[in-house]
Structure formats: C-alpha cells, structure tokens
C-alpha cells in the first residue's frame, strides 16, 4: 500500500516539474473555453433549455469540460504512449519482474498525474471562465464534494480504458491505430464536443450508456445538481460498474499478455 502511495506521489511530482507546460495548457484550455462558450451561447440563444440545460448550465458544462480534459483523459490518458513504448521496446519485461502489480503500479502513477492536472490545469481555466461568464456553480460544499467524487470515478474509468488500449500493443506492437480509435471515442462520446443529452434519438441513448459518458457527462450533471439522493448513487454506480468491468478486462489482457511474454522469453 505504501509503495503505491509513493508511486502516486511520484506521478504528481513528475508533472508538477513542468510549470511552463502547465501554464501553456491553462492558456490553451482557456482559449478553447472562450471559443466554445460563444458557440454554445449562439446555440442556446436559438434553443433555450436545449438538452434540459439553461444557458448558465451550458456555459458551466463548457468550462467543466476544459477543466477535466486532461484529468479524465478525454483526448488521451497521458500515460498510454509511455506504456506502449515500453511494450514495443521490451522494457516491459523489467516492469514485470518488479515485486509490484503492473496495473496497480500504473494506476497509482496515473492517479498522481490526474490529481496534479486537476489542481494545475483544472482550477485556473474554470476560475477565469467563471469571471467572464458567471455560469452555474454547485449548491454549497456538498455539491462540490459530490462533483469531486464523480471526477475521481471518471478518472478511474478513463485509466481503465487507456490501460486496455495500451495492452493491445502486446499483440499489435504498434498501438497507433487502436489509440486513434480510442481517441475518437473519447472525444465524441465523452460529450466533449457537445453534451450527450443534446445528441438526438438512438445515438444519444447509446452514447449515454457507453463508458465514455463517465468521463465528462456524468461529472458535469452531478456538478449541475441533476441527481439527488438515490439518483446520485445510481450515477456513481454507473461509473463504478464501468470501472470494474474495464479494470477486469485490462487485468485479463495483462494476464494473457504476460503468459505470452514468458513463452517468448523462454
């Protein structure tokens, strides 16, 4: 347990080293936040209450998306490139010899990264966005806490997705194709481009039950207070269930891959 806490702290510190990169990221997220805000204003001007959101809710949604983009890895988990590279070069053999579980090791490192991104790249764009647009805020500390739990679960689901993607490199060696497909799924089905409850008909229904909905749509709806009491528990259960399923799949892939590596090494 202490080992993994150290790994997580290392993940946090590693990203905290790149201050200029963080500042550049905050700048980019803020610029995109502004551009998206104006497009949403134009859309909600024409169709007030679209998707059940008021204008202020929609603007909050934009900035939550910009704040969580690296935290919940909508456009890449932030660790899979490194893991795929280790698998491709064979360095992964060293990792497998360590007296630590591979998946838990990477999960801890990613949790540290995610926590840093939330503080480093999440808070500032959201504060700047609020100053410019005065969007909806959660009702009190309880609302913020509920939101943070949903973000933590979203980050976990994101890790499980990208870990599974990285595992595919054991078979494909070049993970680029799978990474691109996962990237496409993450960008579109997380609701990063447009809230999933604005998607029409069957497309919307499918999008809302896919794992990517856990990354942004669910945390944003928790933030906006769309769930109360048991509904909130249900939202968490949705994220938790996907986390468990995808973690299990990642573990199975890892076990199958490990057997393969041993066979090749022997």
């Amino acid at each position: 347990m202490r080992l993994y806490a150290t790994v997580a702290a290392g993940g946090f510190r590693r990203y905290a080293t790149y201050r200029v990169a963080t500042a550049a990221g905050v700048f980019t997220n803020t610029v995109f936040g502004f551009i998206l805000s104006y497009t949403y204003i134009a859309l909600w001007d024409e169709r007030p209450r679209l998707g059940g959101y008021s204008m202020d809710d929609a603007l909050a949604y934009v900035w939550i998306g910009q704040a969580l983009i690296t935290v919940c890895g909508m456009m890449g988990g932030g660790f899979e490139d490194e893991l795929i590279e280790r698998i491709r070069t064979g360095d992964i053999a060293v990792d497998l010899y360590r007296p630590a579980d591979l998946q838990t090791w990477w999960f801890s490192a990613n949790a540290g990264r995610s926590a840093y991104q939330l503080l480093g790249r999440g808070v500032a764009p959201m504060a700047l966005g609020w100053l410019a647009f005065r969007f909806t805020l959660p009702s009190g500390p309880g609302g913020w806490l509920a939101f943070l739990v949903a973000v933590a679960l979203g980050s976990t689901v994101s890790f499980a997705i990208w870990y599974l993607v990285a595992m595919s490199a054991f078979w494909l060696l070049d993970g680029q194709g799978v990474v691109q497909v996962a990237w496409l799924g993450g960008l579109f089905f997380s609701g990063m481009l447009l809230p999933l409850n604005v998607f029409p008909g069957a497309l919307g229904e499918v999008a809302r039950v896919l794992p990517w909905a856990s990354l942004l749509q669910v945390p944003a709806d928790v933030y906006l207070g769309k769930y109360e009491g048991w509904e909130l528990a249900g939202a968490y259960a949705f994220q938790g269930a996907w986390a468990v399923v995808l973690f299990g799949a990642g573990r199975a892939a890892q076990a199958a891959a490990t057997r393969k590596v041993v066979v090749q090494g022997g």
Partner: protein, 273 residues
Amino acid sequence: MRAYGPVGDSLRTYRLVAGMWIRSTMTYRASFALTLFTSFCVTFFDFVVILLMFGQVRSLGGFTFAEVALLYGTAGTAFGIADLTMGSLQRMGKRVRDGSLDTFLMRPAPLLAQVAADKFALRRFGRVAQGLFVLVWGLLLLDVAWTPVKVLLLPVTVVCGAVIFAAVMVLGASALFWTQDAAEVTNSFTYGGNTLLGYPPTIFAQDLVRGVVYVVPLAFVNWLPALYVLDRPAPAGVPDWAAFASPLVAAVCCGVAGLAWRAGIRSYRSTGS
C-alpha cells in the same frame, strides 16, 4: 554539385526527408490505410457537432447551414494543408529538450525544412480531405450569385489561409528555442483558430473578432474573403477591401515568422546531453 539557392535547398531537403518517411509508412500499407481513414473520421466527427447543432436550429448567428459549411470547409482545408506540411514542428520542443536537435544542425541542409519534414505523416491528408469534402458540400448547397472575382477568390483563400496557418506554426516553433515546454500555446492559435473560423464571426464578442483581424490576423485565413463571397458585410468595422488583402497578410506573416526563426536559431544553446 549543383547550387540550388536557399529556397530550392529547403524544398529539396523537405522533399527528401518527407519522401523517406512516406516510404517508411508505406511498408505497412494496411496500417497506413487504417490511420488515414481514422484521421478522416476524427476530423469528420468535429463536423458532426455542427450537423447536430443544425439538427436543433435553422441558423447560427444568422448564418445558414450552407454558409457555415463554407466557413468550416475553407478553414478546415487551409488548416489541413498547413498541418500536413508543417505539423511536425510541434515536436521540436522535445528535440530542443533532449538535445537531438544538434544532429539536425550538423547536417548541411536548412534546419527549418529538416524539422518541418521530421516524421512527416501522410495520414494527416485525412484532415485536408475532410475539409475539402465539407467545402464541396457547402458549395453545392449555397445559393450565391457567382462572379469571376468570387470564383477566383476561393482557391486564393484556401492557399493564403494555409500559408498564414503555416507561418503561425513556424512562429510557435521559434518560441520553442526559448520555452521548450510551451508547444501547447501554438495549439490555441492553430487548432483553436481553426475551430473559431469554422463558425460565423457574428456569434463572437466583437473585441475577439478585432483581435483576430489586427493582432493575430487569422480573420484573413477565411472569414474576410468568405464573407465577401457570401455578400455579407465585414465584421467589427473592417473595410470591405480587406477581403482581398489575404495574400499581402500571408506574405507579411511569412516575413515575421522567418525573422523569429532566425532569432531563435541564433539564441539556441544545446543542452549538451
């Protein structure tokens, strides 16, 4: 040995390096076809958002679907061409950090051409194809009184737009000589600019529009010429003749980017590792 002159030298270097990467990609043809297709889809999903928006409304900021498609298509094609040819410049920060840029400096070939063609990715053509696809779609739906000037203005817009985006990319890469970690700032002007220009200028705050006319002249990529084609007034009190100023603006951008690049090389210090 033949002498090629500075521009010829750059083009020749670019062609050689890019050709090498294309041959290496073509070793795995099926994999290449797949990445090209995903690249097309990734950018197309971007446009699906606009389609979904127009599923809910008839116009956005007073612009119809066909008009938005023209804006999106011109910006997307211009950005796609710039990204295809210059997109690798983004990786330069890493090369400055780890010192591998020194290898490039030792070769008797122009540095900018080497870095721009580094890991040349032909799959980025997917973005150009997607931009052209939307552009043609918009043109088919548009109800415009075409004149020879308007017809001629369209290819000029796309080419000048690509040059302006490319100049911004070179400018961003020049800054990497000093701040290796700040590659993302360029993204807000390139990817961000591309997103911005895909929507009508009427929906944005007018100060923001003035900013992309007079400060970072992205409005000349497509907004100003496209508004002329659509018979709409230029935004934010910009004079109407500005619609034809894109070539001039593109030339000035290239000059500024060239100066910045030279200043960057002069200040470059190897990490020594």
